[in-house]
């Protein structure tokens, strides 16, 4: 586990500008299996590279297209996540992920 403070360079989308956003997780149970699956399902819809880190715990950056990685960030309710998107469809990716996270990742009304 290397402590990297900068997003990992992921090959195929070099050269383009990069978009960044910070989002707060409002899902009561955090990004556990189902919300994380939903999130990763979204990131995999795009060609852009998406990196994510848990800003609240100052985690390392990981590939947001991997559900395993996203789960290991231990993202809980009220944590802030930082996303970096790099690729052609980056603006759309940011918008869609924002909407998805703000809508509670389909988990708002789930019981514990």
């Amino acid at each position: 586990m290397d402590k990297v403070s900068q997003p990992r360079k992921i090959s195929k989308n070099k050269g383009t500008r990069m978009k960044q956003v910070i989002l707060r997780i409002t899902t009561e149970t955090g990004l556990h299996a189902r919300p994380a699956a939903m999130f990763v399902e979204q990131t995999n819809q795009y060609s852009a590279d998406v990196s994510i880190r848990n800003l609240t715990t100052q985690s390392k950056w990981v590939d947001a297209k991997s559900i395993m990685n996203v789960l290991t960030l231990g993202i809980e309710m009220n944590h802030e996540i930082e996303l970096q998107v790099n690729g052609e469809d980056e603006q759309q990716v940011i918008e869609n992920l924002k909407t998805l996270v703000n809508s509670g990742l389909g988990d708002h009304q789930m019981n514990r």
Partner: protein, 581 residues
């Protein structure tokens, strides 16, 4: 309607773990550790292909499962099997696998090493929900490994509702359980507070644990009657017994409905003794559930969630805000807040825990006041501020001596002076109580009582500290029963000492939610029961059925017993006689 002994059928006694009745076909669930080869010098291309084939098979299975349960899943929700499918094809996981494939390792070892690596990372997280996802990853790992080894996947996937018979259940086996497909649990090992018990309670399914190895020899497909209330199972009940079963079920369902209907009414015994029935909560959702189920207050508010997964202490303003939200919901009802109960078993980097051989006997909970009094003081400041206009009570956990009480009271007094000086409003009248979890404090309760307003007996810890048995260890969990006469003796000492000083006593362990314990606890003079919100109606109902003066005799008899089974046998019989189940 006493226990049924019929020649054609067989009764096995165990430990009641989750109340209720069920009847269904037995499904034996055995789960063995898989062994797999581990060798080098393999052709990466060949191994890669083998893994690819195994993964494809696993994915097909998971899709089928997903389709099967599609109807039960809310639209827009991703079900667990879909998440499992994503694990199988995960980018980061496959990068890990690929690097070991290139070193010539066989595919089984490559795959399982990668699975292990991620599961271990998740297991290290402190959030229990996220942590339990490690079990999902291991499930997926196992599924693919079975295909690699060419052996059938020992799935927990069921096509018709069954009674599960197992040696023990791990969380990973229970996550894939679909509600509606399982009727009840019969478990060989385990104790009343094992996780099967907790899970079954959460699902509202009956469970009997500690049935012994005999239960595993049940013929698959046999009819099994599970009685989670009384703690026994009947294999192949005959026609006559089946009629009894139907009557009992109808009665029990009716009672549940009745109990819920009148849940809001007070719990008063037949001879007019009123006791408080409060709820244990860990957040706003539980507070809502407590109110819906007729809880008259909160007997235990666990505050650990505020402290987990952070880099520093939660800011005071944030604490105040969170507490206020919950206090507002409870209006003027009493709320007992337990201050931080955390130790070296949890990763809370900013507190400064050290590696300890025995975190549960270590520097934790109120003991942190020696070294880190600021943690307690900041929590108290937040509570006092949020508590304005409420019926707040502060309770400290893990107390073993009187000095800890004096120090905590001093810190609370300091917090008041500070708030006064800063001109901040704070709650004036706040009761102060202690948890009785360590036998030493029960044994000197008479000397401690003048310094406090109330005791709350935490029977889960009191039991494990008295009996030196870890309730999470399946091999000794059966020893950790709160019905041990020694534990009952400590409860009695505490209540007597409190009442002699006109102080009240609550009980907030699992024992407070056991119907069969109601006469015993009433007889001992308990003033307040605090339990999971969903259990409030049935405990209130049981209290309303009892006569306190009779309960005193039951309590005396229980205290005179010499073993756990003698106590539970007597209490079950009494509960039957009083028509509590």
């Amino acid at each position: 309607m006493n226990a049924i002994h019929l020649p054609s059928s067989k009764l096995i006694k165990g430990i009641p773990a989750a109340p209720g009745l069920a009847l269904g076909h037995a499904r034996i669930w055995s789960f063995q550790d898989l062994t797999f080869p581990h060798s080098t010098g393999h052709d990466p291309a060949q191994e890669r292909q083998r893994l690819r084939d195994a993964k494809t098979k696993a994915l097909i299975e998971l899709s089928t499962l997903e389709k099967n349960i599609a109807l039960t899943v809310k639209p827009g929700e991703i079900n667990l099997f879909k998440a499992h499918r994503m694990f199988v094809d995960d980018v980061a996981l496959m990068q890990h696998v690929e690097s070991s494939l290139l070193s010539g390792l066989n595919s089984e070892a490559c795959w399982m090493n990668a699975i292990d690596a991620f599961a271990i990372q998740l297991e290290a997280l402190s959030n229990p929900t996220l942590k339990s996802r490690a079990a999902d990853i291991r499930d997926v790992g196992r599924r693919v490994l079975c295909h690699l080894l060419g052996i059938p996947v020992d799935d927990f996937l069921l096509d018709s509702p069954v009674v599960i018979i197992a040696s023990d259940l791990s969380p990973s086996q229970t996550v894939s359980l679909e509600k509606g497909k399982v009727l009840g649990f019969c478990i060989e090992k385990g104790g009343p507070t094992s996780h099967t018990a907790i899970l079954a309670k959460a699902l509202g399914l009956p469970a009997v644990v500690g049935l012994g190895p005999e239960v595993l020899s049940i013929e698959p497909g046999s009819i099994v009657w599970v009685d989670g209330t009384r703690g026994h199972i009947i294999i192949n009940p005959d026609d006559q017994a089946l009629i009894v079963f139907r009557d009992l079920t109808t009665r029990s369902n009716l009672r549940k409905l009745e109990a819920v209907e009148i849940a809001a009414q007070p719990a008063v015994t037949l001879d007019g003794v009123g006791v408080d029935v409060f709820a244990n909560i860990g957040g706003l959702e539980d507070a809502e559930a407590a109110l819906v189920n007729g809880a008259e207050g909160v007997g235990l508010f666990r505050t650990e969630f505020l402290y987990l997964d952070r880099q520093q202490l939660p800011p005071e303003a944030e604490q105040v805000q969170i507490y206020r939200k919950i206090f507002d919901r409870m209006e003027s009802r009493p709320i007992v807040v337990r201050t931080l109960d955390i130790g070296g078993d949890k990763a809370v980097p900013y507190i400064g825990f050290q590696e300890e051989a025995n975190p549960f006997l270590g520097w934790r909970a109120i003991r942190m006041n020696e070294g880190r009094p600021d943690v307690f003081q900041s929590q108290v400041r937040a509570l006092l501020q949020a508590g304005v206009g409420t019926n707040l009570r502060i309770m400290i956990p893990m107390v073993s001596n009187i000095e800890e009480i004096q120090l905590a009271k001093q810190l609370i007094a300091n917090a008041r002076v500070e708030l006064q000086n800063e001109g901040l409003p704070f709650a004036q009248k706040v009761q102060f109580g202690i948890m009785v979890e360590i036998p030493s404090i029960a044994l000197i309760a008479d000397r401690v009582a003048p310094s406090i307003d109330f005791f709350s007996i935490g029977t889960n810890d009191l039991t494990q500290y008295t009996l030196a048995a870890d309730r999470t260890n399946a091999r000794v969990a059966h020893l950790a029963s709160p019905f041990h006469p020694a534990v009952l003796g400590l409860i009695q000492m505490t209540i007597r000492a409190a009442h002699a000083h006109k102080k009240w006593v609550g009980l907030c362990g699992e024992l407070a939610g056991e119907v069969m314990a109601v006469p015993l606890l009433l007889g001992l003079g308990l003033d307040e029961f605090s339990l999971a919100p969903s259990l409030v109606p049935s405990i209130k109902r049981a209290i309303r059925k009892c006569v306190q003066t009779d309960c005193k005799i039951i309590a005396e008899r229980a205290l005179a017993c010499s073993s756990i089974s003698e106590v539970t046998g007597m209490l079950i019989a009494e509960a039957e006689r009083l028509d509590l189940f």
